[in-house]
Subunit: 463 residues, 4 copies
């Protein structure tokens, strides 16, 4: 019989029980649920709402149940609906009468939110650690590939030469904001709903500051209705995950491209590739394809929660039971994505020779040439035009800018001088960059140092 069965004469149908149960997934909250019950029982005893010996029975019972769950011996029962009722009923089976006092001044409404906020807090800490791990992998990869110039793209067309390090650090920057977003979310959600009870608080003399403090929250939430009604903390959490997922989908796309025959810039090791059941020659960068693909489910999880919460009146509605699976799935997925990206970063080789050979294509030095003209005093728009004509000349001759003779250049515009050749070619072009944050070698080295220090990377193995 259900714990709320008092006035009910009939039990729910099988289909309804199956449809409304949550134990198949919310048992993932068992650790947080027990943690919350411990704090609650201690507070009840401290306030004289239960006796010390009842508290001790409860605490010992909870210890046993926790061990039992962790040993895989706990039997989760669907007819006990959810993680809270399963644990409370098991406690009653175990210790009898005192267990019936645990739910004093508590409702499942505030209980589940306490559990869930604790769970999200842990999940965020876990994700942030994985973000940092990937940052370290990227910076380490950058350290291994000093001075490697690669084409920089816009519109997937070759644009300007850049240092590979510069590109890798761009990802590191993005991940840094991802972590920041999660930490802001963590701070905002770390307030304690326990004691909000069903929605209105209680008339019993509880101490919400005590439970809040014991559970590591910043403070109790100020408004009990708000505490049980709102799910903005999960929306914010899954938004943050979605943005991270989008970042990783872009990294996935880039590395899939770079691993293609046509780009040929990188080769993953066998340990992060897979083959084909029909085409024996294939070596596919599947993990990065799946990183790109799995970003979709992180976004889908967010959308589920936004749709879920839309238009619900206050306070608790049963719809909100659906808030958990998307959060669990999003968390598991994003951690897998971060892990696999780090592993991929540790297991790829850049094909320096092939990259170097490809650099002359695409007139990557054109903009540097325009800068040259600006330095000669030509207004930028005119410079742009002159370089455009020079490139057109190259196209017609099927050559690179550095292959044009000074006469040819001067046929476009007489301003060109012998020193122009110091600006042409990808290596020269990279050397000329000097603005803060640019791809110039010194600028990049400075940024690399910044990250090595910030991420406390041991550079002993390098240089």
């Amino acid at each position: 019989a259900k714990l709320w069965g008092g006035r009910f004469e009939e039990s729910v149908t099988d289909a309804v029980e199956r449809f409304t149960e949550s134990i198949s997934f919310d048992k993932a909250l068992y650790k947080q649920d027990i943690m919350g019950s411990r704090a609650h029982a201690s507070m009840l005893a401290h306030q004289g709402l239960i006796s010390v010996s009842d508290r001790d029975s409860i605490l010992q019972g909870l210890d046993k149940i926790e061990r039992c769950i962790e040993d895989g011996e706990f039997v989760w029962r669907t007819d006990r609906e959810d993680v809270h009722m399963n644990i409370e009923a098991a406690l009653t089976d175990l210790i009898g009468e005192p267990a019936k006092k645990l739910h004093t001044a508590r409702s499942r409404n505030d209980q589940v939110l306490t559990d869930f906020r604790l769970w999200c807090r842990d999940a965020i800490d876990n994700i942030v650690a994985h973000i940092e791990h990937l940052q370290v992998a990227l910076v380490t990869l950058a350290m291994k590939n000093e001075n490697l110039i690669v084409p920089g793209y816009t519109h997937l067309q070759r644009a300007q030469p850049i240092l590979l390090q510069h590109l890798l650090l761009a990802y590191v920057e993005q991940l840094d904001r991802d972590a920041g977003r999660l930490l802001d979310c963590r701070h905002r959600l770390n307030f304690c709903p326990l004691g909000a009870c069903a929605l209105a608080g209680t008339g019993l003399p509880i101490d919400r500051f005590m439970t809040s403090h014991d559970l590591g929250f910043n403070a109790p939430m100020r408004n009990s209705i708000d505490a049980v009604s709102d799910r903005d903390f999960v929306l914010e959490f899954l938004s943050a995950n979605s943005i991270t997922a989008i970042h990783l989908s872009r990294l996935g796309e880039e590395w899939v491209l770079w691993a293609s025959e046509e780009f040929g810039f990188l080769t993953p090791s066998d340990s992060v590739s897979t083959g084909s059941s029909i085409m024996p020659q294939k070596k596919n960068p599947d993990p990065m394809e799946l990183v790109r693909g799995k970003s979709a489910r992180v976004v889908g999880d967010l959308v589920t929660l936004l749709v879920l919460c839309k238009g619900l009146p206050h306070a608790y509605n049963r719809d909100l039971q659906e808030d958990k699976e998307p959060v669990f799935d999003s968390t598991k997925t994003i951690i897998g994505m971060l892990e696999v990206c780090a592993e991929f970063a540790q297991n790829i080789t850049f094909n320096c020779e092939k990259i170097k050979k490809s650099l002359p294509a695409g007139h990557l030095d054109a903009t540097t040439l325009a800068d040259y003209l600006v330095k000669k005093g030509i207004p930028f728009r005119t410079s742009h035009d002159i370089v455009g004509k020079s490139v057109a000349l190259c196209v017609s001759k099927n050559c690179q800018l550095q292959d044009l003779s000074l006469d040819e250049l001067r046929s476009v515009n007489p301003v060109f001088d012998e020193d122009v050749y110091e600006f042409l070619g990808a290596e020269n072009a990279v050397k000329k960059f000097c603005s803060y944050g640019s791809t110039g070698s010194e600028c990049v080295a400075e940024q690399l140092d910044f990250w090595v220090t910030k991420l406390q990377i041991n550079t002993a193995g390098h240089k």
Copy 2:
């Protein structure tokens, strides 16, 4: 060792194996996979690509494996990646050499799509049956509540009196289009990709029409690249599910409202209600709240698939492995929603007395009064204005339109006559409706007959 391991020197890392595996979910396709393999083996033998005895070994082996799976004795191995490789490897363990010939002229790319289209076809048939079941439940509920007048709402404000039957049939209409959408999708997806192989077809003399026919497809797909690349059939399927889910979310909202103390129009039986762990008096319509809530995950599943497919080049990309879980989840969810709605429909009682008492509120007969004036020859806009003033008079006197004396009505406009009272009051108002599809008793009866016939409902128990 992986079946594609020929040229690979290192096996994938644990994290990659965990991240890329699909066996944990694609084993749901085992039935379709075995069905496809049977058809494929028979065709290979018919075309002389394998011997008849090889075929027989394969068919017997597949039978054993199927039984083994259904008896829960099959061991699914993550190192064998997916359902296809698990079954093929088990077949090799079982029958040896002939099993190695089964993958002739087949790739996992066309194999998985054959399985998946078969699975979706079954899922659609299943959902359509559940839609029909809910339609029957709603029509039956309508038959049980003849002549019950309820307020019709716009803007959640009382608008006009309607027959409850009329409202219930509105849901039936919507469900009918839902089924139609699914059946259109079924027709469009029921083409056979088998024989498309990796992406380009094969040079072996297979007969794609034979396998297509054996598996109940309309025809083989015309273009092998299209066959392995596209997932529009799942996008269409999940779109159809999403629209159904939105319909059900509206039904859920409506019945949650009607079950509230404030509306009080319906009472669910205990068998479809739940209670509260803290508030003993509560009796909550949880199943319908969850119907409303679970619509969110059906929408989220669709969004996942849309994001997944966006911007993928041809042909197969590993991202597409992520196409299955959202489809499985969407299917399971929508079936649960339909089931629970039907069960709810079978277990609610409309509170006729309370509804009847509430009818006078809200001036539900105002539009009927405007029709009265139109019949008297007053232009509609003028009629609307006159009725507006009459209502204002009611509001000031805190009464209903039918409570106004003829003098009072004539003080607004002299056109009113004694016959006006035949148009006032909810019962009178409902009687006046006569347009096709309207809430007039005869119109609704006609529609009810239409559905009773179409759904082949046995009306013996009624009337």
Copy 3:
């Protein structure tokens, strides 16, 4: 003053007026609104609800207003809220009293849905025409590039050689299903809501079959509540657009890749490219990037509508006013995407020489070699393994399969014979394909003929 102002003593605030107005966008429905009013007025006269002379005044007035709108001289007034009230009020200004009779037995609820269904019907016809136009462009492009072999990809890794025509026809197939989906939607939405009035129908003797027929609908909708409440037709329409958009995003991605320096397979003409404000050498395939990007807004429009409709009780709710802009945006966007893809298809050149030179890379003939071994009687799994080892030999020698001597091949497995060389090399490989729907030349030619006939393409200029 608002037309519904009868009992209202205060007019709405500016912010509310601004927030709730729809005239800024729903004026797009003017043509359909006038068309609906014409049919309605004719029916009213036919049924004797208005006089013939009133009808004639109304029809003449509507003609004038339509011309006035089309000449850009109509003044849309926000204080008149929406397109319906603007036109009706203008009609009253123009013809006086008879205009006040037009709204007889009609509400804005059924009126707007009549307009909107008519609009969507036209939009679908327009989109389907653009789909066909793109199909013609793709088939024409295929005809221009007979015999061009390109790499076929899976995982963006080179997989097997395919005919470019085969790939182009894969897009044509997808577009064909896109059109089919829209036409199914068109059929399902083409039922007439007019006469449903506010939600319950009317007591006036209207003829809904007459208006339905005059407006080209299949039939009047059977249930008036359903008629004004549901928006599944727009959800289905935008779902269909979203699937088309996803298809086009994949084409966009593919052509952006192919236009890159690294692939270099195609060059767009200047007329469909853009340049850079800073890098004078750039020539970017912007239209196809935007096709890929704009798929996002089509998906976003669908999500907006799904979220909008979720959890709304019956019948009409003002939320539903928000149904129009996403539909207008989705329609405009998808038409632009289709147009630009067709234009791109007409303005690209495939770089046959470059493609041909690149073909040897990637062991595209490996699977054909496995087929060769199967034909020699080797079980497929064993063949796959032998080819895997042969490819490994190539990799170690940095050569192609066709470069291996017979002795080298036999060192892998003695089964190889002199005839193996007929199976090696991309050209040979393509020739070997023979299964229905495969990339074999004859198979593709057959499919091309199918589409030329189906799309009624004039082939005079070709061959």
Copy 4:
């Protein structure tokens, strides 16, 4: 001719021009674009890259253009593509040669992001001000309705009595987190991309710290590739808006419910209601319905941007042009929603008499009764059961808990005493709440004070 037209021989087709143009919407950035150009020109002069007199011409020219735009006299030209090119070309028309130097060490890639970050920063400030305005309106409404007890709901079933003030403050709490989220986003996006140029920075001696400082940014962005590639700041911004929109959709739903005949808890003034074109008696809370509905487009805008960014390789891709309209739409919509909610809050009356009369229904005091029993030493689970049976007794007698005689109560359980009646009835029940954050009068008064102080509300008019 386009400014990048140097090497282009053909201009783009009309369809492409129409499809790729952005001036129709990005002109909204004109203010920020001019602001950025001013800072850039000043920096160029300070660094000696342009002369002081060129700078002065540029600044004067920009002033003129700004005035011209604000006076509505500027002609935006589609052939000039976007806001940047329009303004630069107009500057060239106006001041000639110096204008050609403005684009020195700048690309549209960094320029547009500078504009866009400035725009978002302003938008956030604007939204946060509107959030605060709504908070003030809600607190003011709370002050006007001291001591008003309303039913608190869970599952839309009456649960416990709460103070209306308590509920209103729950919204205020949620809005407070909404503002916090936006301010975190503001801080994270307030870094300056200017000087990142196309993607790699520049070789010209610019001072990025100077422009960053002049434009009020925290600092220049550290990585030029990151600066032009990423759009996480808009994803975060639109996520924050979406969460706010979901909050407001819930408020919308609640007030629509409360304005219904069935709840009848509040009446909006005519100034925030609308009527019906066919039902003269209707008075609809349309603004709140539209608040609920428009939340959908805010969510849709977010989804558009997530889909847009998914899977894009670095650095800039033209797809990203599509980032602006969703941000503009989201901002406009959320501001409208906040404004209208505030206006609604200022224009509703709570129907105290009707609410008071309805309070006895629903056994709102049941949980308080359970607390009573706990205080008597009964374990909570047993108390819950006793109250359940007492409620069942009430249901069978069709009365309220306070109507049960002591004997009747004792027939359920002998523990009841005369003092039980101090706990029964909604007024008594509310008085008993005492936990922090609960609905108890003192607790709520304390919270109200907190917000009055925090929001600096003048309370002179109250009390």
